[in-house]
């Protein structure tokens, strides 16, 4: 349905684009500082991220040409494709730090688990929008979405990547609760979830993963390991004070006290250099973008659109919350990036594609309504 309608231009949500560009610009500015001084070899991260951002924008533009309805169809192909990629990663993937998560494409190392998050949002949106039940879903209806979630969940857990796997679980729970389920499902879910948790703790979790959780409960136990990273992050953010140390002046980041300063802990650098005022401004814009996303969900023309927008916002929201709470010392180091801010191509592309879908829904908010009016007039 490649139809270019001039109304789309008027219906396009320029405010949302503005918020997105604002967040991305601040993220790139921050990334320059977080990877400063530039290393003498290779492409500096902020340049790479810049290219990927432009690529992502191109992707959004491409998505906008198609009605999101098409996803009902393409979804199955995406799902199969991502599962194949996840399987591929297990066999031929690049590994780093004891985990095998990447497929090397030469110019770019793709992390299929990132794409899997978006894929899950689209899949669940598609499923819940087509199957509706006024009283909420019963146990029988939940079998399909649970299985659809469980397959990529297991594959990602196997890499191992506990953080991303948990992300899938959180997306599943958010969207399912949002779709409304019967109380039996909650009871069963709690029992099964709790059982799985206990089982995982004793049989599935690797020692380093357990240690991370233990460190959270008692940070003093391990001051030079996981606790060290969180402590340094707290020192970085805290030392920002009201107005920050100044751009490129943060000592925690530039003297390498902060671990992973351009990926997971990128916001620590922002907090250190821009202080409370800067952090509030940044998070204000960031959350405004999320609220605007929820607003897009509320104005969507149909169930599928609502679920898509809601899912994409939840995808970004939960990652952001987990990342921020980790940086601020409330959660263990789980390896969840701050979407749009942390350096990482797969995460950035996934987020932008998700937002592209969201903008798509928003842009086409009136379409069905007009159709329906026409139908009613008939």
């Amino acid at each position: 349905m490649l139809r270019i309608d001039r109304r789309y231009f008027y219906h396009f949500d320029w405010i949302f684009l503005l918020l997105l560009v604002a967040v991305s610009s601040m993220a790139l500015i921050n990334l320059y500082s977080a990877s400063y001084p530039p290393s003498p070899w290779g492409m500096p991260p902020y340049i790479k991220q810049c290219y990927l951002f432009l690529m992502g924008m191109a992707g959004i533009l491409f998505i906008l040409f198609f009605d999101y309805k098409e996803l009902h169809f393409w979804n199955y192909l995406f799902y199969g494709f991502i599962v194949i990629l996840l399987l591929l990663v297990l066999f031929v993937g690049d590994s780093a730090g004891g985990a095998q998560r990447w497929i090397n494409l030469g110019f770019f190392r793709l992390q299929p688990s990132e794409l899997a998050k978006l894929m899950l949002v689209v899949t669940l949106a598609s499923y819940y929008s087509r199957k509706e039940d006024d009283d909420g879903y019963g146990v029988k209806e939940m079998v399909a979405p649970v299985l659809l979630t469980f397959l990529p969940f297991l594959l990602i857990l196997k890499q191992p990547d506990l953080g991303t796997a948990l992300m899938l679980g959180i997306i599943f729970v958010s969207m399912t609760v949002f779709a409304k389920v019967r109380w039996q499902v909650y009871v069963l879910g709690l029992i099964l979830g709790g059982g799985a948790g206990v089982f995982a703790w004793f049989y599935l979790l690797r020692p380093y993963q357990k240690r991370r959780i233990e460190t959270l409960l008692d940070p003093a136990k391990d001051p030079m390991g996981q606790g060290y990273q969180i402590l340094q992050s707290k020192i970085a953010v805290g030392s920002g004070g009201v107005s920050g140390q100044g751009y490129l002046e943060g000592t925690q980041g530039h003297l390498h006290f902060l671990p992973e300063r351009h990926t997971d802990f990128a916001f620590s650098v922002w907090g250190e250099e821009w202080g409370f005022a800067g952090s509030l401004f940044f998070l204000g814009v960031y959350f405004a973008m999320l609220f605007w996303g929820l607003y897009a969900a509320m104005t969507a023309r149909d169930r599928f659109g609502v679920f898509l927008c809601f899912g994409v916002v939840m995808l970004i929201f939960w990652q952001a919350v987990i990342n921020l709470l980790m940086i601020l010392g409330f959660l263990p180091v789980v390896g969840i990036p701050l979407p749009l801010v942390s350096y990482g191509g797969s995460s950035l592309l996934t987020t932008l594609l998700g937002l592209g879908i969201l903008m798509n829904v928003r842009m086409r908010r009136f379409q069905t309504g007009q159709n329906m009016e026409k139908v009613k007039q008939k």
């Binding site: 949002f178 805290g238 030392s239 004070g241 409370f276 969900a297 149909d302 169930r303 809601f310 916002v313």
Partner: protein
Amino acid sequence: MKWSCYKNLEELSESDDADLDSLKRRIFYAVFIVLCFAALIFVRLWFLQIHKGEEYRDRADNNRVRMRVIAAPRGNILDRKNREMVTNRPTFNVVFVREDSNDVDELIKHLASTLELDISTLWEKLRSAEGKPRYIPVRLLEDVDWEILAYMENHNQDFPGIRIEIVPARVYHYKNVAAHAIGYLGEISRKELEARDPEVYSGGDLVGKMGLERLREKDLRGEKGSSSSEVNARGFEQQLLKNVEPLPGNDIQLTLDAELQKVAEDLMDISDKAGAVVAMEVKTGRMLVLASNPVLPLDQFVGGISHKNWNALLENPKHPLINKVVQAMYPPGSTYKMITAMAGLATGAIDKDTVLYCPGHYYFGNRRYHCWKRGGHGAVNLNRAISESCDVYFYQVGLRVGVNKLAEFANKFGLGHTSGIEMEHEKSGLTPTKEWKEEKYKKKWQEGETLSVAIGQGFNLVTPLQICLMTSTIANGGKQYLPQLIEKVTDPDGKILTRFKPVIVDELKGEQKFLPQIRAGMEEVVQGRHGTARKVRIEGLTIGGKTGTAQVVRLKQYKNMKEEDIPYKYRDHAWFTCYAPAEDPEIAVTVLVEHGLHGGSGAGPVARAVLEAYFGERLQQAAEAAGEKREMER
């Protein structure tokens, strides 16, 4: 398939308008949840950045700024002729900052194998530092040579956490000369650390532990410097932020004469004598020699004395740790007879021509008191009594004036109380009185005891310094000067902070007219035909002096033994005190040799050597002049 999807959907959207609304209404719950988390993050940010902002700012600074303390060189110690006695040299220590190393195990192994060191001693040093903060450097090697130094400086990238620390250490140019007066340094103890200003001192500092190093710690210590540099998380220094140079301590010039002191100590040392040699300027109170033998091995204290060496010092029967100049008390023996003579003259009990008969003994009460000369001195006047040290003469003088008068005059000459010299644990000595005995022993004074006191035995106790002060007071005409050993204190810029000023503590009023009579007797001791210290005589120099023998024990079993056969610790102490030149006295010299038997033979030669060294140049000139004169006459 595509089309069927669309159809489906359009049908759905038509029929489920109400359902869509209820779905959209549920978005408000999501908005609420997002708001909650936003609020949580807001509050947390406020807590970290505003509430605890200062604290975290400090911690960030602590993270990145490393301050190194630079020890200040202590002040130099010079002798009266500006000869360097104690100065500093830089020593290079290999230290290890545990915080800066990721793998302590590997590093220690690497260090031990490259420098061919015993790995267990390195581990021992690390273990001893357990419990101290990890950023405090641990000393692994002290005073390394330049080869190790150059290697470590060139390969510092191979040894993360290892650094070279430059610390000034004391150099003793005159080895152990004046060791008791100068003292030594040691690491500050926990107790001292608690008692002192934490701004100035910190653990591991060297502080004066004895002598002037301790008493003049404030002058000598200087001010520490510091260098602050920025380090990254791996401990590598990025840039220097601030550098404060240390301020060296003040230099102290002593009144002591290093060469003279050395003569005295060496002479005592060669003949293996324990005791003290004291010399002072009689007209100022400047101390020239303050020697206590055996000397302290100062170099053993550099970098901390070993347990073994310390025990050896403690157990040495000659007590090298005691500064015998002021910390040991002995009966003054016959050197006390000048006090008795003075008391006799001043009270009118005798005059210089009073003749008393000495048959070799004196009966008092039911007892027979011996003169040291069993045959007796016959008829004796003051001059002969002093020069031949007749005990019977002074027994009678003592009886005539009484013990309290003796004590009064002893005090006037500096006995029985501390002098106030800048030395630690100075003993006051003892000049007994009747009241003192009643107080102390609850017993009445026996007149017979006055006889013992009159010849310097009995309860009498003095320090070698006191006898020197007494001699000095006799020689200078009755002025008791405060003995001082610091000529001047100079700050690093050369500004003089304090300068020697003579201080008169006490002065004879009127009685000084009798002093020449006593001095005449003392000159006879050295210059006279029957003097007890004829051996001390120096050609071209008139010396006044007095020998003394301090009884250690009075045991019957040793009475008839030959002196050489008496066990060392029961032998008498030997005194000799003198001044010169007799015509216009300049210096007083006092020598005490523990268990040295006789003043003239045991202590005299040491005093003679000191005088010779002091007057050496002048004596030579005089001798040359005399020789020329003789030539001319011929």
